[in-house]
Symmetry: D2
């Protein structure tokens, strides 16, 4: 099902979708620039029912095949401190997470990926120091990312519960989903791609994404570029794994998207509830808000994106 590309094809594709310099030499926001205030204001008008839906997985504290380095959640002080005479009438806890894991709903900043030792807009990989990133950090999204969200539900299109772990989604299929759902992806939109990962995990149990994960193939790169998508998210990691492309060119969505286009990604979303809500409301557009933590030198953030219908 996956399109095959030569290394030269991929390099040409990468060059063809480059947004470097498009918003100035010092720009660190990339495709977020497609979201104007007017776009956000118009998107907020989509909130008609007032129903809000979380698109985040639970904070993944339990080890699992897709969570080999589980997040930390530890109490600093629990209820025993007041029931056993320690005089503290509060409970507090600690959370810690290497959030670029495969079980954490998170935002990838533009410093997350390099191609040939370069980041989006030509900043060198060496600007991401062991003490933190100095370019293309998550602070580009410090005031949140808020726009019209569109969900394309591929299992629904295919009439299945979920995509199998070796299946890819092509640009043609994205267009087919648009047509089937009666929705069109526009400039500045936040595009979410459901592959049914939540359902598959619930029914068949967790698996290591190294064994395969449904996602977009390289044919989608130009389409995303043409549509001027501002932010791309998926219940997987947008890329299919393995990506089935030329050797040395894994992860075309991450590499062409983040590095060439300046496209932030949302990985490992939970889209099952949103897909159900959209079907119930018979609408596939909504107001979508992502509010990353303001980590000054960060490469992204765990997030709990909210869709408002």
């Amino acid at each position: 099902m996956t399109a095959q590309y030569s290394t030269a094809d991929m390099e040409a594709l990468f060059e063809s979708v480059k947004n470097w310099g498009r918003w100035g030499k010092e720009d660190e926001r990339g495709a977020l620039n497609f979201i104007t205030s007017e776009k956000t204001a118009a998107a907020a008008q989509l909130v008609t029912s007032g129903e809000s839906v979380s698109c985040s997985l639970e904070f993944p504290t339990q080890p699992a095949p897709d969570n080999p380095r589980s997040a930390q959640h530890m109490m600093v002080v629990a209820g025993d401190a007041c029931t056993h005479g320690a005089g503290i009438e509060a409970a507090m806890d600690f959370i810690g997470v290497a959030f670029h894991g495969m079980a954490v709903s998170h935002l990838d900043a533009l410093c997350h990926v390099f191609v040939n030792e370069e980041m989006y807009n030509g900043f060198p990989a060496s600007a991401v120091l062991s003490t933190g990133a100095t370019k293309n950090t998550v602070m580009a999204a410090k005031d949140g990312i808020s726009s019209r969200g569109v969900l394309l539900d591929i299992p629904r299109l295919r009439g299945v519960d979920w995509l199998e772990i070796d299946q890819c989604i092509s640009a043609d299929e994205l267009q087919a989903a648009e047509a089937a759902q009666g929705v069109t992806v526009d400039e500045g939109d936040i595009l979410l791609i459901a592959t049914g990962r939540d359902e598959r995990r619930r029914i068949k149990g967790p698996w290591s994404p190294a064994d395969g994960l449904a996602g977009l193939d390289a044919s989608c790169v130009a389409w995303l570029h043409d549509r001027k998508v501002a932010l791309l998210g998926s219940d997987g990691v947008s890329d299919a794994i393995p990506s089935g492309n030329a050797e040395g060119w894994p992860m075309p969505i991450h590499r062409c998207g983040i590095v060439a286009m300046g496209l932030h990604l949302l990985d490992n979303l939970r889209l099952e509830t949103l897909a159900q809500a959209c079907a119930r409301h018979n609408r596939w557009e909504f107001f979508f808000v992502v509010a990353p933590l303001r980590v000054k030198r960060g490469t992204g953030s765990p997030v709990n994106p909210i869709a408002f219908l």
Copy 2:
């Protein structure tokens, strides 16, 4: 400036604002129940300019007098891994935080505070185990908290840059701020109280909140209850420190608010930018979205709340 109360006064006040059982014996959402879908939908219509403003401080990785246990931000892999031949073309990091600190913008869940070994709705403190909370967790807010936000800017009312660290705000002053700003706090609103803490910190440098922090006094408790506020936030911790109340009755807003009323709190917000934006737009209401991480047994979450004008 602080009203003085006897212990008996405080106990009576606590009883008088109790919402235990109001939304059922098993309720863990408390005053969030004041936010209906209709309320959220109406609030979203307040987004007219599309301007979005973060109300979060930066993730506090640097030790300071108000940040003695600074948050962790460490790289898992930086740019050197691709520039020195390690073959990894991505950067990743780790964040960790005991988020109930005084320099972290965070949401307090209803399991955060106890009075007489009890939590909101009468659940025992012992339900907050060393392995995590089992009642009144942050999951009550898992789909986000979104409603009409109202900012009351007390330094603006007083004509000062900031409140001094030993100053309290009374219920009368909240009403005066409403009148001066031409805004009224309604059922289900998210109320934000600016004390000018950001400005004071920037000009005078950080200080330990143990030395004093401006906030609401106990007279505000009944007012918050009457107005049916759904969520209360401040650039401080809502409570004045010290609270100036009866001995053994510190933190009346935390104790009466969280425990008796079931009122979630947002602590240590950054409200300077929002206050400026509100003044510029000459409006003090906005759509407000808080999206905590979904920590299943958590006592709260670091957050980056977004106000939309």
Copy 3:
């Protein structure tokens, strides 16, 4: 191969080896009291070759079936900070570990295990608060544990490379190993039991100890008590898993040893190199030093115990 006991048997065994009160009502050192200064001085005389052997596994930063919650090792600052102009001429790192895992060489303090809500010497389990232990902490070993060490090499006795994961070691076999090796366990000794776990892991790959782990059966409890062993260690966790005892009585070595006898344990040692060195020197006794971190309210510590031959 495992002896079977009734619940009543186990309860009687527990009572029969209780050292509560033996060294005073406030004692928190338990069997460490068997090590006198004279014992330590005599043991140091065993250092004849000057060869030192670490008995610790590597700090387990990689997830594995026996390491589902791998330890953290992250750089705070690496070499790039000086090679890319950040002006820092030092490298620093962070380590973090929930050290009671099955892949961490660690010392169990006497507050690690409870039986019927009690710890060694009758202190209540509630003395181990969410803010840390207040009784029977690792500080009992703050000046290190140093005595004569004796290794009993069970695979050597049996003529195998390793014990299978469902095999138990009885008291009779410990005595047989003594006889075969020409060594006798005396009062105040540190006893190490090799089961060949390192070799098995190296050859067959890691496995989850929940699937089975070789170790001592309940018949060893009285023997350890009679011999006045001061500290017990193993390449496993001393207990066989499953322990094959009466229902509700798992982990007899942990429960009778730590709780009744006040016997500290060393879990998940690496004994392969030590066994080879002992065979080469044809001696099974040595000076043995364990130096836990001084964690004031700690339940143990990761350690790198050193054997001197």
Copy 4:
């Protein structure tokens, strides 16, 4: 009191004490090579009383002026889990530490410091990656460091309780201390320098070492080299702060010691108890054991070094 050096002096000093290549081009052990098995065996014979003394501070979990990034100690599960019906009859905890802080007793590996982007034996700073060190790691000391220890007690020599924070120790004074104490530092010894920091901290309270810390001046570099010291430790960080040397040449002991000589350092020891024990025994030599955690790519380790008299 501090000797003044020009930059050229320091560069010449650095060159003059270089041990690069002395133990082969691939050597990563440096001055640890001075410790032979015979040396260790002879040192063990110094254990006559059997008294053991910890030279480690408590694991520093409390913020303080000398501990701005305090270590983490959090319970994973406490006693409440068995007293409140959760069925877990064990307590477990987590420790985490960026151990190169000024309140942590720790070992500096040879990859900890760079001069002109180089480490000991000429390895490049770039070999210390954001994913961990690949040369000169703490694994050089994986089997522990064990040798004759010698304590030089400078406050005792001067007849004071402690050295003030702006005072330096010269090579002449080290020799004077040897004479006064009747002890001589030999090849392969572990040298400990007491400055009275513990006493000063206890009496006057903690202070930031950035404000000053007693230690050795640059005149000691050649002396340490001549004496073939294998490991150097102090209750401070061996270097005086500020070091009072040529501009751009801070920390001569760290830079000449670690980088040129390949001398591991022990920082922030607690030497008060050892000094008292030595005085009581009227001997200043002892068997000394340091057992770092085996962190494969680590720059050092927190340690609890034990002196045996």
